[in-house]
Amino acid sequence: MAIQRSKGYSMFKAFNFIFMLIVVFVTLFPFLYMFAMSFSSNTAILQGKVFFLPVEFTIKPYLRILEQKDFWTGYRNTVLYTVTGTAVGLFMTTICAYPLSKKRLLGRGLLLKLIVFTMYFGGGLIPTYLLVNSLHMTDKIWALIIPGAISPYNMLIMKTFFEGIPQSLEEAAAIDGLNELGILIKIVMPLSKPILATISLFVAVWFWNDWFYPLIYINNNIRYPVTLFLRNVIMGSQMAAKNGQVMDSGASVVMPQSLQAATVMLVTIPILLVYPFIQKYFVQGMMIGSIKE
């Protein structure tokens, strides 16, 4: 009986291991495929030879993207929006979370309730859009950054973390003559580096990937982020696929599929490069967030 069971169990273990390999493969495959497509020649793509590795290696798709001015302005805008958005977001979230982490704050319970309520109910797309319009923020970077400056979810994560900092440290600093702001900057923030890193990364990734708010708030395409550039490449090739033609602007024809793949690579590479180093912060944030939920 015991042998029987362990036999069944080792069978299960083998299957489970294979299953995990499949999970890893399926997760990474679309990315590998895009990589292969972006470096393959037209004929190889048309003949359907491309699976995991580039066939008939070429860098033409990349050259075609990199020679476009819109791509570079898009990239520059994305970096600008990400950096500014992260700075503003982190600042606003911190000055919101810190006072709320203090039990003695007057009206704390009510404020928290009112903030949490906005997680479950909101005015919706149009009223927010009209508000942003009437504040004359349309077509400016602020339209992308200010309306979403504080995510209640991130704020609650940070508040939970602040609550874990021993009160006695802050009291000692207060006796030394530091005011609230001084305590926050000199005592609390140095102790909160992990959570500040986590929230910054959440916010930064959000801005890096954002395309919908630029789509509705930015009209002038010199202010488009690179995600909208990618969207236009995708839309362009959807049209092309429908009409059964390839994009033939310029001398050398490049398949829309490989153009798309190359742009996808260029947009994702920064995230992939930093991912191994920062992923632990994301998990950490997720864990702190779950305590309160």
């Binding site: 489970n16 995990m20 999970v23 890893v24 997760t27 990474l28 679309p30 495929y33 895009m34 048309l46 359907g48 491309v50 606003m92 000055i95 919101c96 810190y98 006072p99 709320l100 404020l111 009112l114 906005t118 109910f121 909101g122 005015g123 919706g124 797309l125 149009i126 009223p127 927010t128 859009y129 009209l130 508000l131 009437s134 200010i146 400056a149 504080i150 926050l184 990937n209 395309w211 919908f212 909208l228 990618l230 490449v233 995708i234 090739s237 959807q238 696929a241 429908k242 599929q257 798309q260 793949a261 742009t263 947009v267 994702t268 991912y275 992923q279 994301f282 997720m286 864990m287 939920e293």
Partner: protein, 286 residues
């Protein structure tokens, strides 16, 4: 005080838009104040009740959410349970780290991948179909495939991320419980059933409440990028409809009315599920 700025922020950007839903009951004219135009009462509410399009969009939203919940909710749990059985720490860590990578890709990137993988002329999926002797299918242009594509890509993108909580909870289940169960003669399967599952039940319940509460907020960014007019009959959802009516056709009042309808249903949903959870278990949101 420090809080002044955040409080102003919440009032201006969260509560004023809430008051701004008043637009739904007024005939809004471009350029005028949100609050100062002609009051028309329930005209726009009546308008969508009689709008055939609206009901189709509503049905699509509900169906898409339900499919996404049925498949998207249990799969991370199963994945977490299986991953928990992997004994090698490095393998476990590696698989987990890879599994939540797609969460950090932009929706635009994911849709670019979908387009490429499913392309009728060059996509790898159709190439494989051809190898097995099937006709290639123009997946992204067929209404009948839309829901499958949507739900599959959601699972691909979020399975690992949604499993994080379960995996962490699983590693915290008291090992003494397993030892006790073993002495009582419970085999692996029974241990899973009687120790592991109860161990993660509170997490499952909370996650379920949240999933149901946010159910109607389907990943509309993805829909917006994926759909084309030829597949509106299955792909168009409430939020994309709100977007088109409001920001493409500039019918602000009508669009706000539909958005308000959706927000209220969501709020009621989350409240109901929470009441239900309170009644039947220890875990609830509030």
């Amino acid at each position: 005080m420090m809080l002044i700025l955040p409080v102003v922020y919440f009032i201006v950007f969260k509560y004023i838009p809430m008051a701004g839903v008043a637009v739904a009951f007024r005939k809004y004219q471009a350029g005028k104040s949100i609050f100062g135009t002609e009051w028309v009462g329930l005209r726009y509410i009546g308008m969508f009740i009689h709008d055939g399009n609206f009901w189709n969009v509503f049905r699509n939203t509900v169906l898409l959410s339900i499919y996404n919940l049925i498949f998207g909710f249990p799969i991370p749990i199963i994945f977490a349970l299986l991953l928990n059985e992997i004994k090698s720490k490095y393998t476990k860590k590696f698989v987990q780290t890879v599994s939540y990578l797609p969460k950090f890709f932009s929706t635009v990137v994911v849709v670019g991948m979908i387009n490429n993988l499913l392309s009728p002329s060059t996509g790898v999926v159709n190439k494989v179909l051809e190898i097995f002797g099937y006709q290639s299918i123009y997946f992204i242009n067929q209404s009948s495939w839309f829901r499958t594509i949507y739900v599959t890509s959601e699972i691909w993108q979020f399975m690992g991320w949604n499993a994080i909580l379960y995996i962490a909870t699983l590693s915290n289940v008291d090992t003494q419980l397993y030892e006790a169960a073993e002495i009582d003669g419970a085999n692996r399967w029974k241990q899973t059933w009687h120790v592991t599952i109860p161990g993660i039940m509170p997490t499952i319940i909370i996650t379920f409440i949240l999933s149901v509460g946010y159910m109607l907020q389907v990943g509309f960014e993805k829909v917006l990028l994926l759909y084309t007019p030829s597949i509106y009959d299955t792909a168009d959802v409430l939020q994309t409809y709100v977007y088109r009516i409001g920001l493409v056709a500039n019918n602000y009042s009508y669009s706000t009315a539909i958005g308000l309808f959706q927000s209220i249903i969501s709020l009621v949903l989350i409240w109901m599920v929470n009441q239900f959870a309170k009644k039947f278990s220890e875990s609830s949101l509030w």
